[in-house]
């Protein structure tokens, strides 16, 4: 690959960073084009794009639900309410 092509091609490391920048804060047109060509040719980064997007959705979901009570650790410890009321009475 000649030097000009090397300069134009993104490394996977740069591509992965751009993928997350695209998801979170947006990228400019130049970056978009470079990323597009990279993911067209690189299945690993194409997978990373899908997976990072999925993780993003999953993280939004865990914050959206306020009343997931299926997890043991989510229950307050013993005496929790009493301690609050004690503090309030001081």
């Amino acid at each position: 690959m000649n030097k000009l092509m090397q300069k134009m091609m993104l490394s996977c490391k740069k591509a992965a960073a751009l993928i997350d920048k695209k998801i979170h804060s947006g990228i400019n047109r130049d970056e978009k084009v470079k990323l597009y060509f990279h993911t067209m040719m690189c299945s690993a980064c194409s997978n990373y794009e899908k997976q990072s997007t999925l993780i993003d959705k999953a993280l939004k979901g865990t914050h959206a639900s306020q009343s997931e009570s299926h997890h043991d650790h989510a229950e307050p410890p013993e005496g929790f309410i009493d301690r609050i009321i004690q503090k309030l009475e001081k």
Binding site: K13, C45, Q51, S52, L54, T62, E68, P76, I84, L88
Partner: protein, 189 residues
């Protein structure tokens, strides 16, 4: 004679504190911190009760105070100097994912995830939470700040006195590690 506001707030404690604790726990994954933050929320409510005036529902008001205190907690954690990690192996650098030429390392290389309908799966969400818990403290805080409702990325950067670019970098590294954790513990097993 017990003052009116004490009675009211005590009633709110019985009515809302469990739900507030669960909410705080999911956003902090630390039981002591969650208990503290709920306690402090009620103390704050007691102090500024006069500003409540019944404008919104008690639950909305309490959760709004709670959200602010959780945000403060993560800001504080983010600012703290990095402590020695108990499990240094968990603190990934870029090198762990990419080689010198910038290509994916063999063991970090993303392969196809067949199962996509995981978002509503409770077990998947439990694995995700566990993977979040394993992140280095600063990265976990960065993730929580980003996804906490109503907090804008640029606002976060200003608050933490870092450049937005720095913040996205940390978020990116956290995502890389989360991906590996989910890959190992969900999609490949």
């Amino acid at each position: 004679m017990v003052s009116g506001k004490n009675e009211i707030i005590t009633q709110w404690v019985h009515e809302y504190s469990n739900e507030m604790y669960r909410y705080a726990w999911f956003k902090m994954t630390n039981r002591e911190a969650a208990e503290d933050v709920v306690q402090n929320t009620f103390l704050a409510a007691l102090h500024s009760f006069s500003s409540f005036e019944g404008k919104s529902s008690p639950k909305t008001w309490l959760f709004s105070i709670l959200n602010h205190k959780i945000l403060d907690y993560h800001r504080e954690k983010y600012r703290m100097p990095v402590q020695v990690e108990l499990n240094p192996g968990n603190d990934f650098q870029d090198d762990d994912f990419f080689d010198e030429s910038g290509s994916w390392r063999k063991e970090a290389r993303p392969t196809h995830w067949g199962e996509q309908n995981v978002l509503d799966n409770l077990d998947f969400n439990a694995v995700l939470r566990e993977c979040l818990r394993l992140l280095p403290a600063k990265w976990f805080s960065a993730i929580q700040l980003k996804y906490l409702q109503g907090v804008d990325g640029n606002e976060i950067s200003q608050e933490l006195d870092i450049t937005p670019a720095n913040f996205w970098q940390i978020l990116h590294r956290a995502k890389l590690q989360l991906r590996v954790c989910l890959d190992t513990n969900w999609f490949k097993s």
